[in-house]
């Protein structure tokens, strides 16, 4: 019937069966051959793998990706302890009344499209950063102007000592005027850092090469690639198989696995990675609604804190017992870590006593108050950081033993600020970065202001803390006074517990053996690529 049109003649059918097999074999072989690299050729690009995806090009959304890759620069940098350092601004001056700040730009700085960095371009980027949630919106800025090509002038309504720290945040990064589209949105990333973008494929990939016209020392690493991989096992496996040179965001399980393999030569894979670690200024906190009748009593809050087995949580879920928080701010924040404070304890009997004193009687099914109502709370958390739901589960069980029934509600990170505003929040578990602005004063001022903060106090305020934070923010206090104010703040937070600290964080990175000069930035602002080099095998 259809001899003329017979698409499945025997010959083509046979070929159709053979073709995929041949294609598979042909596809796999070059990959195997490609592993044998020619030693005379330049080394392959530095491959970084991390959990952070590039969600859009706005500086507030993904600016941190580009500042970490050193593609863009901010006006100022921050040292490990938060002190401001020159970056795009060569030097800066503050007027006597603290209301006018003047920044002198580096003379030879150029954008990646060849044009010089002018003050007008900087002003444009800074003005874009004044829209929330870019952090410059926290400063009481009256105007940002460019009196001449190399100077930027910022006028404030009130003194704000944390301004240099704000200008080191990635949301204030400086982009060339050509980066913006006609609608004012960022269309491409043209920065002025030592690397320029060669390929940008959001949300997962960005590739950079050295920018030849950079006015600083030329970095040793010629090309860098970043890939976002959302699972920690994938990142660890990529490090072990040699596919990634730097693997960020290792979870405790992967860390133990890599350490086990390093110790046991029989298990060693092709590449023996080493682990670099740094403690981060990030704390796991329980944010409380102190406006709730049950939590208004400071004894109940203290009981909640005493019932937490922080060492157990740190050991089981973060791999290191020493990460159990003794106070809100970790030791690496230097002067803010108050060594005189009595550490937070795990004492279930003391917790039971405090709850009884606050009027909660222990029944067979948990605590009930004088009116017979049980103590039921809901703790909100999110999955963006995978350890948070597990910590919430551990807390739920520990509080159940104390007689408090807690329900865990895993949702979106936006649920916490929303619950703060509409008052529906009871408890929330989050991982707060207290050096979000490199100077913790700024973050603390936002969290513990008079009306509370989206990620800080709710239904609680302390005049002493508010005044201390205001004084630190507005005036350049002498060291003794600074120390005294900080002690007031930390002491009040430790005794009143508007937020309950649970554990601190340590960042672990797997480093390939062919990479030398690797240092980690505790403020997570930069991968410090310019300091790295290839080690000779």
């Amino acid at each position: 019937m259809n001899r003329l049109f017979n698409p499945f003649s025997p010959l083509t059918r046979r070929r159709a069966l053979q073709a995929p097999v041949a294609a598979l074999a042909a596809g796999a072989l070059p990959a195997a051959w490609a592993q044998d690299t020619n030693p005379a050729a330049p080394p392959a690009p530095l491959q970084i793998v991390g959990p952070w995806e590039i969600s859009g090009l706005a500086p507030a959304s993904s600016g941190y990706v580009f500042t970490r890759m050193q593609v863009t620069e901010t006006l100022l940098d921050a040292a490990d302890d938060g002190q401001p350092r020159p970056a795009l601004a060569r030097l800066w001056r503050r007027s006597a009344d603290g209301l006018v700040w003047q920044f002198e730009l580096r003379a030879g700085a150029r954008f990646h499209d060849g044009k010089p960095v002018t003050a007008a371009a900087v002003v444009r980027s800074l003005q874009a950063a004044q829209v929330a949630p870019a952090l410059l919106s926290q400063a009481p800025i009256e105007s940002i102007t460019a009196p001449d090509e190399g100077t930027v002038l910022i006028r404030l309504q009130r003194p704000h000592t944390a301004l240099p720290a704000l200008l080191a945040h990635s949301s204030t990064m400086v982009l060339a005027p050509a980066s913006y589209g006609a609608d004012g949105k960022v269309r491409s990333i043209i920065g002025c850092g030592p690397y320029r973008i060669a390929l940008l494929v959001p949300p997962q990939q960005v590739e950079t090469v050295v920018f030849d016209a950079y006015d600083g020392p030329r970095p040793a690493i010629a090309a860098v690639r970043y890939l976002a991989a959302s699972r920690a096992e994938t990142r660890a496996l990529m490090a072990e198989s040699g596919q990634a040179d730097l693997a960020y965001g290792l979870d405790p399980a992967s860390l133990r696995r890599l350490q086990r393999h390093a110790q046991n030569p029989a298990l060693a894979r092709r590449t023996a990675v080493r682990i670099a670690s740094v403690t981060l200024p990030r704390t796991v906190i329980v944010k409380l609604n102190a406006g709730l009748p049950a939590l208004r009593d400071v004894r109940v809050r203290q009981a909640l804190s005493l019932a937490i087995d922080r060492a157990g949580i740190a050991l089981a879920l973060m791999g290191d017992e020493s990460l159990a928080a003794t106070q809100l701010l970790p030791p690496m924040l230097g002067a803010w870590h108050n060594l005189d404070l009595p550490p937070l304890q795990h004492d279930p009997e003391a917790a039971a006593r405090l709850l009884r004193a606050a009027g909660w009687q222990r029944h067979s099914d948990g605590l009930r108050n004088a009116q017979g109502q049980p103590l039921h709370l809901v703790i909100r958390t999110f999955v963006d950081r995978p350890e948070l739901p597990l910590i919430a589960t551990a807390l739920q069980e520990q509080w159940r033993l104390a007689g408090i029934a807690v329900k865990v509600s895993i949702g979106n990170s936006g649920d916490v600020p929303r619950g703060h505003r509409d008052g529906s929040l009871q408890l929330a578990l989050a991982a707060r970065n207290y050096a979000n602005v490199p100077d913790p004063t700024g973050t603390l001022a936002g969290d513990f202001a008079a009306q509370g903060g989206d990620w800080g106090a709710m239904g609680w305020h302390s005049d002493a803390v508010v005044q201390a934070l205001q004084e630190l923010t507005r005036t350049q206090t002498p060291p003794e006074r600074t120390r005294a104010l900080r002690q007031t703040i930390t002491h009040t937070l430790q005794t009143e517990l508007p937020v309950i600290p649970v554990a601190w964080y340590r960042q672990h990175v797997a480093v390939a053996p062919r990479l030398a000069g690797v240092t980690l930035d505790p403020l997570e602002r930069s991968y410090r690529l310019t300091g790295m080099e290839w080690s000779n095998p």
Binding site: L17, A31, G56, Q204
Partner: protein
């Protein structure tokens, strides 16, 4: 006469066209309604998607709400959406502010590449195995493929992929463990998806082969004097191909969705991963755009499968025109 020019084919084409229109309208409206009905403040979700948990705040949500005009009444937004659909304007993503069309093609294209590779692997591995098992039933190949089918069907894809990565990427340092740089990085995720499919395909091919081998026309071919192999190739395979094609058609669709976990594990920039992010982040335009494209793809794919079945076996016009 070319079966593809015949009347049943024209009727089929017509029906599928109507289906495309109906499906698009239904999906578009349904997605719109559902995403609006979800709990949680839209502006806050979008802000959380854009800025992350360190920076999201009420101030950010207010800025997003003002920027996107999210306090418009629902019915107005629905009318706008219908108008946009009619002009093929899929809008911009609320989170990344890139064009939805660009995002969808990028992600869907990656997933389609992955699915195609998985299908190729399944075809190359499963069909020969199934043919062999069908020709020699109760043999060791038959039993082994049954066991493989059970195990591979029950293993969650993420477990299979981890095992594969451990074996291949780390132990033998053969192939990349993640990313989207080269053709080589396609092999592992495609293998994960393809092996499970190959197991099922082997069983279906085996069943089809059994039917062919016991059928009268096959016996007649042997009686005529053709050898086993010639009879198989000339008469058997084409008849066996119909149920196999239908099965592949159904499974290929599940592949596209089922690739979600594999994409997440291998950092493959696919549509499942993007869709989950979009639903969590309440990125309405991306959700609607993705659903629309996938719906249209579904209809087009069904059309292709019907065409293939029709070309393979023109007798079954009734079945196809169902």
């Amino acid at each position: 006469m070319n079966p593809l020019l015949s009347k049943p084919w024209a009727a089929l084409l017509g029906r599928r066209l109507v289906q495309v229109l109906a499906v698009s309208l239904l999906i578009g409206t349904l997605c719109f309604l559902m995403v609006r009905a979800l709990p949680g403040d839209l502006a806050m979700r979008v802000a959380a998607g854009r800025y992350g948990y360190d920076l999201v705040s009420n101030a950010a949500a207010d800025a997003v709400r003002a920027e996107l005009g999210l306090d418009r009444p629902g019915w107005l937004a629905l009318l706008h959406w219908w108008r946009d659909m009619a002009t093929f304007n899929l809008g911009q993503s609320l989170v990344s502010q890139r064009s939805v069309w660009h995002e969808v093609t990028h992600h869907l294209g990656a997933t389609l590449r992955l699915s195609a590779a998985a299908l190729a692997i399944a075809f190359a591995v499963g069909v020969p195995l199934g043919v062999w098992a069908g020709l020699r039933p109760q043999g060791w190949v038959d039993k082994a493929s049954w066991l493989m089918a059970v195990v591979l069907r029950a293993l969650p894809p993420f477990l299979l992929s981890v095992l594969l990565v451990l074996l291949v990427a780390v132990q033998w340092s053969f192939l990349p463990a993640g990313g989207d740089e080269s053709q080589a990085s396609l092999v592992l995720p495609a293998l994960t998806l393809g092996l499970g499919l190959a197991a099922g395909l082997a069983r279906v091919t085996r069943a089809a082969m059994r039917e062919v081998v016991v059928s009268p026309f096959f016996e007649f071919a042997r009686t005529k004097g053709l050898s086993d192999w010639q009879a198989l190739v000339r008469h058997g395979l084409r008849n066996a191909a119909v149920p196999v094609t239908a099965y592949l058609g159904v499974q290929a669709l599940f592949l596209v969705e089922g690739a979600l976990v594999v994409e997440t594990l291998f950092a493959w920039p696919g549509i499942g991963h993007a869709l989950v992010h979009a639903v969590f982040g309440r990125d309405i335009p991306v959700v609607q755009g993705t659903a629309l494209c996938m719906g249209v793809l579904f209809v087009v794919f069904n059309l292709l499968v019907d065409a293939a079945c029709l070309a393979l076996d023109p007798r079954h016009t009734q079945k196809v025109a169902k």
